[in-house]
Symmetry: C2
Subunit: 137 residues, 2 copies
């Protein structure tokens, strides 16, 4: 509770119940969430648009980041030190084809890639699809 307020304040955001709920949902569920997921969980309390705007705000402030998979867009908490100015997300996302969950794999960075002449990379995004530990029989 108080923790949430601190997190929001730390990013110069006013504390509202919607922001607290969205943030605490991200913290309790650990996998990446789509807008639809959040709407399903919180939609009776808040307008769709408010949830969209909350996600947008969190994105801009560096609280969450985008996670892409073949089904669409999701969001996940930024591990620690992202800010409005600087995002560092060279980590790996794993999507399980059985349960459908997408997770960030922490502590594992994308290996270096030698691009052909002339390409200037800025951002890396590696998605691995397969079967997660929970679902392997």
């Amino acid at each position: 509770m108080e923790q949430l307020r601190e997190m929001l304040k730390g990013h110069q955001l006013r504390t509202t119940t919607c922001r607290e709920d969205v943030l605490s949902t991200f913290i309790s569920k650990k996998n990446a969430l789509s807008h639809g997921d959040l709407e399903g969980m919180l939609g009776e309390n808040y307008d769709r648009v408010t949830i969209y705007r909350t996600l947008k705000t969190f994105l801009e402030k560096g609280i969450i980041h985008k996670v892409l998979d073949d089904e669409g867009l999701r969001y996940a908490l930024c591990s620690q030190s992202c800010s409005e100015e600087k995002h560092q997300h060279d980590h790996i996302h794993f999507k399980c084809n059985e349960c459908g969950e997408t997770n960030c794999i922490e502590n594992l960075h994308i290996p270096a890639v030698k691009l052909p002449e002339g390409y200037i990379p800025e951002n890396f995004n590696l998605l691995i699809q397969g079967t997660c530990p929970k679902c392997k029989s």
Copy 2:
């Protein structure tokens, strides 16, 4: 022309003008295309739905594959040997933040990644964003 018919036949597809046009667009443009791109180029000749269905068919037959970036979904030609049963796409996509184009980088594979215990990977998808050779000033 005749080439296109052969490609379609090779995948057990009837030759129709829409399929020929979509296929030849993918061949001439070399970057990944969204449905919207194709609709912009061919939309006066074919219904939106037909283009969607053409893309879906090509996907299923292994003629094209999905390319993800932060803006959404695009499609690109499969380099060679994909079939309905087996896709192999462990290659790299590069999206230029200047011109917005996304391209497959051929001849460059994703380096091996050691996943934690229990994860069984099947598919890799690496998106690199940055500036492409054409746009670097």
